[in-house]
Amino acid sequence: MKKGLIVAFLSVLVLSLSLTVSADEYQTYQEIVFVEEDERLLQDVSTEDFAAALASLGGKKMFGWKLAVLTKKQEVEFLSETKLKIFNNGYSTIKHDITLSTKVETKFQISSTGSLGTTISGDIKKFKGSIDGTIKTEIGYTRTETASELYEFKIIVDPGTYVTIVMKGRGIVSNGVARNYFCWIKIIEGGWETFTVTTEYYEIVKERIR
């Protein structure tokens, strides 16, 4: 009876955890292209390959995490979202003051799938539990403690014109799967991914409003 209660409790725990899905800013980028052709983001890994990666974790263990790496420190190029759009629909030239932010290298982002979660401590995003340290050891991650800076930019915009500022950049991606056991029972299972922006480039485009 007691054993049944424990199993029921753990099953509820697993169910509630499996609803957790976490995303980060890089998943809103318009395009992410790996320099090496065969590499993929976690979201592009097929169900079969994901299942195979989980299977590669092997048999159960009493306590703790099992981890497999699918992509390790692979370089990507990305096109981010448009940071800003200014429209001049009027009949005269306008001077526009824009407050822009520029990131200082390096910016670390993470995401997870399945019941593997993320948490925020201060301004640092981490994977929930001791898996955070395990992943960072596995991918050889060192955090550069830097932040962003705001600055002002003035631009003249002709009538019938709009200005966009877009961001492109380079980054490093690692991803894989992980599973956590408690008394040989699978508690947490899912995918993890880290995305480190190494450099951002900014571009101004002025176009005619059609």
């Binding site: 990131k103 800076e149 003249i156 002709d158 950049g169 450099t199 480039y201 571009e203 101004i204 002025k206």
Partner: protein
């Protein structure tokens, strides 16, 4: 009873000793780093904000409190510009070679009422100076600075339609290799660009090598590839010349004198001729790239200072 007394005394001594160790007085001074990096700002009026970085090993030091700064200025051997400190912002941190963490503070200024219609104030090996409450002062070397006074370009004769910088890899470091700019005249009459100045010391636009582009290059393309000369380097001498255009997209190559400089944000100052007269078109300083986290790795000089607390 005696044993209990001895036990208590020893206990007090041990606890007292631990407390004394934990309450070790903080270091008597605060360490400060400044890194000489070339910078340039377009100053459109006396409210225009610009910033310089100092790195401190104590984020709570008196230098990080606005109220403790009574006066600020920037000067070189010949010129001095009074500054108004408007904000001190902690933007990040670096770790020095000896493992000490230094928090980066951006000291944000305006020109304290100084507003010049047109002109450039060039400060070579500029020194940022502060007077602090209590009569102490601090001088920090921040590198060459250009203050370009003027208004952003009025697109009455031409406008730019596209603008980004190309950074190529030089020995694992990102180096500014040129500017990609789309240009369009307003009247269809050719415009002649006579000079393009980024106002960054030792970083020169090689206008004579300007190249019209059929396709836009990647932001990490190499100048040698774009110019079709595998032997060309970013340390080659600049080639003088002019660029005439009606409409087109151009690569304006950049060369560095002596060594590669870490350049992320700069204005663009275009001197051009239209209908027999000379004009100037300014583009505000724009961050073409994320800031360099470690400018010292480019050989930029680090200066170390120490202040009593």
């Amino acid at each position: 009873m005696k044993k209990v007394f001895v036990f208590l005394v020893v206990g007090y001594l041990v606890v007292g000793g631990i407390l004394l160790l934990l309450d070790e007085p903080s270091a008597p001074s605060v360490r400060i780093l400044s890194i000489e990096t070339p910078s340039a700002f377009l100053i459109t009026d006396d409210t225009e904000r610009f910033a310089f970085s100092l790195f401190l090993d104590d984020p709570d030091a008196f230098l990080t409190v606005m109220a403790n700064v009574t006066r600020a200025s920037i000067h070189d051997a010949e010129e001095t510009l009074a500054l108004l400190l408007v904000e001190i912002v902690r933007t990040g941190a670096i770790r020095s070679d000896d493992g000490i963490r230094y928090d980066e503070f951006r000291y944000v200024f305006t020109t304290d009422g100084v507003s010049i219609d047109v002109g450039t104030l060039t400060l070579e090996d500029a020194v940022l100076s502060f007077d602090y409450e209590g009569g102490t002062t601090g001088d920090y070397r921040v590198g060459d600075v250009d203050f370009v006074f003027g208004a952003p370009g009025d697109p009455r004769h031409f406008d730019f339609t596209r603008l980004y910088a190309v950074y190529e890899d030089v020995d694992g470091r990102d180096a500014l290799a040129g500017i990609v700019i789309g240009l369009e005249t307003k009247t269809g009459t050719p415009i002649h660009i006579l000079d393009v100045d980024l106002h960054i010391a030792d970083v020169i636009v090689s206008l004579g090598e300007a190249l019209e582009l059929d396709e836009l290059p990647a932001a990490d393309a190499s100048a040698a590839t774009l110019l079709g000369d595998p032997l060309r380097t970013l340390l080659d001498p600049p080639v003088g010349g002019t660029l005439s255009f009606v409409t087109g997209r151009y690569f304006l190559p950049v060369v560095h004198e002596g060594r590669i400089r870490p350049v992320a944000r700069f204005p663009i100052d275009i001197r051009y001729e239209y209908d027999g007269r000379e004009y100037r078109f300014l583009i505000d300083d724009f961050a073409f790239r994320s800031a360099f986290a470690d400018p010292a790795s480019y050989g930029e000089t680090i200066h170390r200072y120490e202040h009593l607390r």
